[in-house]
Structure formats: structure tokens, C-alpha cells
């Protein structure tokens, strides 16, 4: 019931200066792509220190700030619908016994 994922900046849509961090994340399989997007927005806001406290940051972040992609073939990226659960993404697009690899870019 737990999903392991590697979360990287989109190699084509994000400059190396913008977000360089690869994130190693675990969460429940019932989490949606929107949960992941909102989580990323919160982490970035906290790391940039732009929203002060975690409570303040939570009030200002949105799941719409980042778009999440999966690589389906060499150089091909598919946008993931926000309502998809990570379990479904794993079953439909990944199908491998290793951490799910996802990419993010500002919307």
C-alpha cells in the first residue's frame, strides 16, 4: 500500500538553475497526483522561505502550481491527470519493481 518514487525536475521544461533537486519520496498508494503536486509546492515554498511558517505556506500553495509528468518512452513525457492515484499511475504507466520515476515543472 506504499509507493516509492523518485521525483525529478522535467529535463526539458525546467532549467538546471530553477530546481535542481531530485526528491526521494514515499507515500501511500491512495495519494493522488494532485496530492503530490501540492506537496511539492509546499516543500518548494518552505525551502525558498517565501511563506514563513509551514501553516502560512499551506495557505498559499496549490496543487495547480506544478504539473506532473511520467516518461513513457525515450524523450516522451505524458502529463498525469491530477485525479489519478499513484497506485493507478504505477499500474498503468510504470509496471516495474523499482521506485516510480516522475517529473515536475511549473504549470
Amino acid at each position: 500500500s506504499e509507493i516509492e518514487l523518485i521525483f525529478c525536475p522535467h529535463p526539458l521544461l525546467v532549467s538546471s538553475q530553477q530546481y535542481s533537486q531530485t526528491r526521494y519520496v514515499k507515500t501511500t498508494a491512495k495519494a493522488t497526483v494532485d496530492h503530490l503536486s501540492k506537496y511539492l509546492a509546499l516543500r518548494v515554498a518552505l525551502e525558498e522561505g517565501s511563506s514563513g511558517t509551514p501553516e502560512g505556506a499551506l495557505r498559499h500553495v496549490s496543487e495547480k502550481q506544478f504539473t506532473i509528468y511520467i516518461s513513457t518512452a525515450a524523450g516522451q513525457f505524458t502529463t498525469l491527470n491530477g485525479s489519478l492515484t499513484l497506485e493507478l499511475v504505477n499500474q498503468k504507466f510504470w509496471k516495474l519493481c523499482k521506485p516510480l520515476e516522475l517529473f515536475y515543472a511549473p504549470t
Partner: protein
């Protein structure tokens, strides 16, 4: 990993917990099994 960041995110009343590590080694079970 020594440091794991735990964060709860709620959307439409569904709260899920995220755990993030700074390094993958020792964090991912599926890698450790390979």
C-alpha cells in the same frame, strides 16, 4: 537515512502522509531488494 521529512497533505478531506529523504540509499525498500 538519518533525516526524513514527514509532511501531511490534505485535498478534499483526504489526508496523505509524505516522507522525503535527502538520499535514496537505505530509504527505498525496492532498491534494497535488487
Amino acid at each position: 537515512p538519518e533525516e526524513v521529512i514527514v509532511t501531511d497533505i490534505t485535498i478534499n478531506s483526504l489526508t496523505v502522509t509524505f516522507r522525503e529523504a535527502l538520499v535514496a540509499r537505505g530509504f527505498f525498500r525496492s532498491w534494497e531488494m535488487e
